[in-house]
Symmetry: C3
Subunit: 134 residues, 3 copies
């Protein structure tokens, strides 16, 4: 599975972590190609403090946060980290977007494996059974 991760909001990072964890438990390989606003979500520091949700459903955010806390649901970051430890998950940052947003490898959390060009993404996506963009 190859996922182009365009978004940097918690409401997309959570599904990313859930679908990646599910794939790992089914022995699927997952390539995550982080681009544009996704890069902001993977910046050092941001991975743990990010509280951004899309504005379209703002009225539900307090309830969601309460549920996540009450049910003791791990953060997307912890879920993704665990998926990386137990399965084949590679997280790559888009070099063009890094350049556009002035982000260097060192600005990104170590959960990101490398900075690569869009060609690397395309080669992997072409070999994937499932291609998503979120």
């Amino acid at each position: 599975m190859t996922i182009m991760m365009y978004s940097g909001t918690v409401d997309k990072l959570l599904p990313l972590a859930i679908v990646t964890s599910g794939a790992v438990s089914m022995d699927m390989e997952v390539n995550i190609f982080v681009t544009f606003y996704g890069l902001l979500g993977f910046k050092k520091g941001m991975v743990e403090t990010n509280q951004k949700f899309i504005k379209d459903f703002e009225e539900f955010v307090p309830m969601i946060k309460e549920q996540l806390k009450k049910k003791n649901i791990p953060s997307w970051y912890d879920m993704l980290k665990k998926a990386k430890e137990t399965g084949k998950v590679r997280i790559q940052a888009c070099s063009t977007a890094c350049d556009m947003l002035d982000i260097k490898k060192g600005d990104l959390d170590p959960i990101v494996d490398e900075v690569v060009g869009v060609g690397t993404y395309l080669a992997e996506a072409s070999e994937s059974k499932v291609t998503l963009m979120m």
Copy 2:
């Protein structure tokens, strides 16, 4: 075709219904996996009253609503219902997201067939020619 339906706004539910209807008319099978904000769009009651559009193009919403009315375009819900009646369309809700948002099967409109884990989605997506997330 397998669609991960993340969004619950009318501007995404309409394309979902259009693409599903198109697929049915071409004898394609469609699996719709509803997650996160998508679940809000499929809640009982919400399916008919939901007037939410993403905020990014708010200024066009009155014009869009007027056009939909003027051209007598059926609602996404009616389109999707008809697609289900005439073709192979299955609508599944994500169990993890249901848990996170405290939504039970009974809270969802009967157009949703069942609540399943992300593994079911992944198995179906792996067998699909087209995989989308909207």
Copy 3:
């Protein structure tokens, strides 16, 4: 590769142009199916004046615009135009969405090749290695 282009904001049009340019340089064919708000992004005039970014990361937009200018990054439109000139890229507008938004072929920038039904999109997507929606 087949891309359903739902969005009309610059932050999605840029990744569209980047991924399309990358695909062309790898000799891949790209079909872009423009629907809903995507149509607004491809309207005559809009292709060059459009300054819309999604609202969720508004605080980063001035920095992004400055970077794009400073680094002399071509506009998504110029990138996409060049990709069309050098490779196999077809841009199609969704007929149902055109009807809903009261948009005619003549309202769209000439970079759009034709107006087609969702069936055309589905037939092409079924034959594609990579299917994205952005």
